[in-house]
């Protein structure tokens, strides 16, 4: 989805400011959120479903919230959606039903013949799905070069929506900065993005 989470190339957020001697957690509740995530991720939901849940936070709230506040929102929504907690339980603080059985462990990715190989020239498709995707907006309809083939990964566009993993070959694809950002970018600078096969077309076939 074309949401505010897809931040690559946006302006207006100000400078990058590093905090000196930053603690691992600033507040105890952040560690609790992290723990809840680690105990439930892969057990009641997959990581793509979690990311889709984050992306459904209203855009104004997403931009205002700190990192673990976003996570809390995403965890509450996904656990409710998966029936691990119910809205009345959250409001009342008392459990009314047991947690469901954990998801079965997903099998290994199949071995698939990749369509592309390192050195191939590709063009990314100009896709704008309403649902979750990992093809960033700034890299749609752009020419690039396949650098590495990583084997097959679950396609987030499918796996985030309960439609199964739909394993596909995934590649590290290199783009010239000028292809992405125009003539203001430095010649020689590049951006590499991991992209699934269905995001790509062969350059010669377009």
């Amino acid at each position: 989805m074309n949401g505010v989470h897809d931040m690559g190339g946006m302006d207006g957020f100000g400078p990058v400011v590093a905090e000196r001697n930053e603690p691992v957690f600033h507040e105890h509740w952040e560690a609790v959120v992290r723990t809840i995530f680690e105990r439930t991720n892969g057990r009641y939901f997959n990581l793509d479903e979690f990311r889709r849940s984050l992306e459904r936070m209203p855009p104004d709230a997403y931009l205002r919230a700190g990192y673990y506040e976003k996570w809390l929102f995403a965890i509450e929504s996904i656990l409710e959606e998966k029936g691990v907690v119910a809205a009345d339980e959250l409001a009342g603080g008392r459990p009314s039903s047991p947690a469901p059985s954990p998801l079965p462990k997903s099998g290994p990715a199949p071995s698939q013949a990749p369509r592309f190989k390192p050195g191939d020239r590709i063009v990314t498709r100009n896709l704008h799905p309403q649902g979750h995707t990992r093809l960033p907006r700034y890299a749609r309809g752009k020419r690039g070069l396949v650098r590495r083939h990583y084997g097959s990964f679950a396609l987030p566009d499918s796996n985030a929506h309960g439609r199964g993993p739909d394993f596909q070959p995934c590649y590290a694809v290199e783009f010239e900065a000028r292809e992405l950002w125009g003539s203001e970018a430095r010649t020689g600078d590049r951006v590499c993005i991991d992209l699934w096969e269905s995001y790509l077309e062969s350059e010669v076939s377009v």
């Binding site: 989470h5 931040m7 690559g8 190339g9 946006m10 957020f13 100000g14 400078p15 990058v16 400011v17 905090e19 930053e22 691992v24 957690f25 600033h26 507040e27 509740w29 952040e30 609790v32 959120v33 992290r34 723990t35 809840i36 680690e38 105990r39 439930t40 057990r43 990581l47 984050l54 931009l63 700190g66 990192y67 506040e69 809390l72 965890i75 509450e76 691990v84 907690v85 339980e89 959250l90 603080g93 008392r94 459990p95 047991p98 947690a99 990992r134 960033p136 700034y138 990583y150 990964f153 590290a172 290199e174 992405l180 950002w181 430095r186 020689g188 590049r190 951006v191 590499c192 991991d194």
Partner: protein, 206 residues
């Protein structure tokens, strides 16, 4: 606490977190030791010292460097660390004339298995939006001025691959022990927003 990126937690976030935690404990999803275990893991065991160990070993042992670049998870285990992640670690070497850095524009993917949890700036909108488009300006704000002739490769972590940068060994460290070398490899060097310096060459502290 940085006032820019980490506003005071509204009490409702903390209250919601504790309510969810208590509910999940009653349902048997969490135990009371889980939070302490997570805090202790990220405060003691999983942090940039792991990445620094890999880098220092790669600097003194060319065969290890090849294994690290070819199969990073095995190279992590080889040094005695557990590799429990579902995600794959890939190590990208800096080379003469090419500097590499890592970002996740779509969320905050980070090589936590070798660097621990990410700093707040890495997860912030300014870094996520600007690293792919104006990497030189971002690096300058974080204290790194690159020579004009050096090209930049930015790795946008969009899949279940987690990237770590293998910095170049700085001049002035000939004959150093692995331990001494590891001590100059900071977290930021392995994200790619700093470069290791031998102490004699180090400028003003950031």
């Amino acid at each position: 606490m940085s006032d820019q990126h980490h506003p005071e937690a509204p009490s409702d976030v903390e209250a919601r977190t504790l309510a969810l935690e208590s509910l999940l404990r009653e349902k048997g999803v969490l135990t009371s030791e889980d939070v302490d275990r997570v805090i202790s893991a990220y405060e003691q065991d999983i942090g940039p010292m792991i990445g620094a160990h890999l880098v220092a070993r790669a600097w003194v042992d060319p065969a290890y460097r090849q294994r690290l670049l070819h199969d990073a998870p095995s190279a992590v285990r080889e040094l005695g660390y557990e590799y429990r992640a579902d995600t794959r670690l890939v190590v990208i070497p800096n080379e003469p004339g090419v500097h590499n850095m890592v970002v996740c524009t779509l969320c905050s993917c980070y090589p936590w298995m070798v660097l621990g949890l990410p700093p707040t700036w890495y997860k912030s909108a300014p870094y996520r939006s600007r690293a792919v488009r104006e990497p030189r300006a971002v690096l300058a704000e974080l204290g790194l001025q690159l020579p004009d002739a050096m090209a930049i490769n930015v790795w946008d972590s969009s899949s279940e691959v987690r990237y770590m940068i293998l910095p170049e060994r700085p001049p002035g460290t000939e004959g150093w022990t692995e331990e001494a070398l590891a001590a100059i490899v900071t977290r930021d060097c392995m994200i790619g927003v700093a470069r290791p310096q031998a102490p004699a060459l180090t400028g003003a502290p950031r």
